[in-house]
């Protein structure tokens, strides 16, 4: 299976492969977003406090049957992007903060580690959410929580058309393979032409889709209406339970408590 084929399968699994849990998607969304906000309040100078926050994605993914390994693997794809955000910190901030096994740790490295952990935690929280709700349910939850219909529609169409774009790329890739006679690598120029062609095909398709939308009365307004099912006790228990756990992970001095325990 080529990389594009795998990407198509992975994209479809965002919905069809989601391991649903019996908690309302709105509540899961609130918990996940609350978790991200709490993670972002942890100071960059204290990455140790972030380590305990991994309890949320680990417990959620294992309890729902998604499996933390899957979430971890998926989240590693964005690690380079997260690293790019903090890559200059170790160079620009060289104030020493500690010496560990003879190696001087600088403030820049500490904040860089904190940025990596914050990024991974945020991405993992959202991955757990889509893996346990499905992408469509997340969009519906957004709408039900009052997010403007135009934003939700954009998000859903983006999701739909990543698939279409991948299918275009897949057909071009297959056509190239069919006439590639086993050739594995291609010069950069060819790749740039491939991407250019993909862009042109996507624009053409976007034009045709726009026509199809107009043909069915689209005038720029979005009419997504979803019923708001009532919440159950289990939803509220889930919300309160996780709120308590996340606040505890954030504010209790777990590291100090553990080091005291060990020193005794």
């Amino acid at each position: 299976m080529s990389g594009i084929d795998k990407a198509i399968v992975a994209l479809r699994e965002l919905d069809t492969g989601a391991t649903r849990i019996a908690i309302d998607a709105r509540i899961q969304l609130i918990v996940a977003l609350g978790f991200v906000v709490v993670v972002l309040t942890v100071p960059l100078t204290n990455p140790g406090a972030l380590v305990w926050m991994f309890a949320y994605p680990i417990i959620m993914s294992e309890a729902s049957g998604v499996g933390y390994l899957r979430v971890l693997k998926q989240s590693l794809w964005v690690l380079p992007l997260i690293a790019a955000i903090g890559m200059f910190n170790p160079i620009l901030d060289t104030r020493p903060v500690a010496v560990v096994m003879g190696i001087t740790l600088t403030e820049g490295w500490v904040t860089f580690a904190a940025i990596l952990l914050r990024g991974l935690l945020s991405v993992q929280a959202l991955l757990v959410l889509t893996n346990t709700c499905g992408f469509r349910e997340v969009c519906r939850a957004l709408q039900r929580l009052g997010c403007p219909a135009v934003l939700v529609t954009q998000l859903m169409m983006l999701y739909r058309y990543i698939g279409v774009l991948l299918e275009e790329a897949q057909s071009m890739h297959r056509a190239r393979l069919a006439r590639g006679f086993g050739r594995k690598s291609y010069p950069l120029k060819m790749w740039s032409e491939f991407v250019g062609q993909l862009l042109l095909r996507s624009i053409k398709r976007a034009q045709r889709v726009h026509l199809a939308m107009l043909a069915r009365g689209f005038n720029g307004n979005c009419f997504i209406e979803w019923a708001r099912p009532s919440l159950h006790w289990r939803d509220l228990t889930f919300l309160l339970g996780w709120a308590a756990v996340i606040i505890a992970l954030r504010f209790l001095p777990i590291n100090a408590f553990l080091s005291n325990l060990i020193s005794r």
Partner: protein, 247 residues
């Protein structure tokens, strides 16, 4: 029966690239007629359909749907009456689920939710796709996509159905289903197609186009018997169809 007719009066259309797609088309399609537009690629069939729906406006001449001249101002009203099924169902299915896609048109018509639900159910059941309602369009087979694409238009309860190459890429079973759907549609139908068998089976009347002009208009059976005309239009009969027409 539909209360709408379609009248094209000296219609010209040029694309922004300068390509002249229609060169003075005059045509009247009456209430409840089923008409096939036949011709090679580039003959102007699809352009004529896009003009009917108000997606393109003529550079010269006039298109009337009923008593309404198609213009930028009247296009939204015209699109309520004229349902268009596009050649590639992937272009037509853009929402994340089949249900949302079929509901897209009725919602844009600002119908009450209960009426939207009713229309979606009726449309999906009529094409045999009710069981697919929660599926993502990307997960459907070619035939299923085509059926749902037709449902997206039927849910708007149009008076006129225009279809661009509806039988392309369909297997024989799905093609049969499509024919049944069109046969059950009791309003005006205009089909642009290369599929001469489909034209013969569904449309008593055909219009043959070449290079943006109408070169023949009449009974499908009679036109398909005219070998000289077919050669001029670049159309050819399959052996089975040739045998049938000769009989």
């Amino acid at each position: 029966m539909s209360h709408h007719y379609i009248r094209y009066t000296n219609v010209h259309y040029s694309y922004p690239s300068g390509q002249e797609a229609l060169k003075g088309v005059d045509l009247l399609i009456k209430h409840g007629e089923k008409v096939a537009l036949l011709g090679l690629n580039g003959a102007g069939k699809s352009t004529l359909l896009l003009l009917t729906n108000g997606l393109l406006l003529p550079t010269e001449g006039e298109v009337n749907v009923g008593d309404v001249p198609v213009s930028k101002k009247t296009a939204p009203m015209v699109r309520r009456a004229v349902g268009m099924v596009f050649q590639n169902p992937d272009d037509q299915l853009f929402m994340p689920t089949v249900w949302d896609d079929v509901a897209f048109g009725p919602r844009n018509m600002q119908l009450p939710p209960s009426e939207v639900e009713r229309r979606v159910e009726v449309a999906l059941r009529s094409v045999g796709a009710w069981d697919l309602r929660d599926r993502a369009p990307s997960d459907l087979s070619g035939g299923q996509k085509r059926a749902v694409a037709i449902a997206t238009v039927l849910s708007m309860e149009p008076n006129i159905l225009v279809m661009d190459e509806p039988s392309s890429n369909l297997d024989s079973r799905t093609r049969e289903q499509l024919m049944a759907i069109v046969n059950d549609f009791h309003h005006t139908v205009v089909i642009a197609t290369h599929d001469l068998e489909m034209a013969l089976e569904l449309c008593p009347r055909s219009v043959i186009m070449k290079d943006g002009r109408i070169i023949a208009d009449g009974l499908t059976e009679r036109l398909l018997r005219d070998q000289e005309l077919l050669e001029l239009a670049g159309l050819s009969l399959t052996p089975a169809l040739a045998e049938y027409v000769e009989k």
